[in-house]
Symmetry: C2
Subunit: 167 residues, 2 copies
Amino acid sequence: MHANSSSVVNVDHEFRAHADHHASLRLWLRLLSCTTRVEDKIRQKLRESFDITLPRFDLMAQLERDPDGLSMGELSRRMMVTGGNITTIVDQLEKEKLVMRQVGLNDRRSFTVKLTPAGRVAFTDMAIAHEEWVAELFSGLSNNQQSQLYSLLGAMKKNLQKQEETS
Amino acid sequence: MHANSSSVVNVDHEFRAHADHHASLRLWLRLLSCTTRVEDKIRQKLRESFDITLPRFDLMAQLERDPDGLSMGELSRRMMVTGGNITTIVDQLEKEKLVMRQVGLNDRRSFTVKLTPAGRVAFTDMAIAHEEWVAELFSGLSNNQQSQLYSLLGAMKKNLQKQEETS
């Protein structure tokens, strides 16, 4: 009988573990779905309103935060895409005079990428529109719900960082 | 004085709108960051453990849910990537005998893509590991926090769907 109840407990634990796993998986699929929908909507609006791709907008957003410019390696790290793609995007934006390459003072083989003044003006317009679209896309949640969501995602992000540090 | 207080109210509203916009933007950037981190981790683990890319895993996951197979158009719609990429992935998986093309009974020009029995076995192993990784990645949140997050994202998703229907 002891053996029996112990086995029941084990089955329960196992069942619970599976149920928890399933719940996490459902949560992940919903998180992914929400993110993808928002991203697709932003991608579509950037194309319609400014005829620009999302990766190009993202790259300009990274440069806007660093007026001194960023190296290709740093840009690549921040955008989490491959170096090859970054080079293509920078080439296109340079052709349109929205970004410029600046050769390093100490090392002439290195260079940084910066927004041009025209690129900065163009980005500001897009950033204002982008912020309005995002507010609209999240408008189904009350301020209170948004701040709950922000705080739960904060706890999650902190844990992901911890896992990365210890792995 | 009336004019003055009205102007103060307007400024307050405007400030509030900006503050709300900023809060939504911060929320979106955090949502995007969490999703990207989880996705990168899963991508890395799929490569290390099963030598498979995330798009290939996703495509097999779509097929696993439909034992009768899916048309290329339907696959493309579900994976939200371009038709060209889907064809490349299907070609690779077919070469490895994990999926097969089946010509339509009524229309011989049309075909559906299905998992092969070997593909189904291979996918089951990956899906079990995938579910464990996801549970681990979300383990920083308690069950209660996960269910709060699930429900907030549910409200958000519902609103995004409503916006898509009315736009």
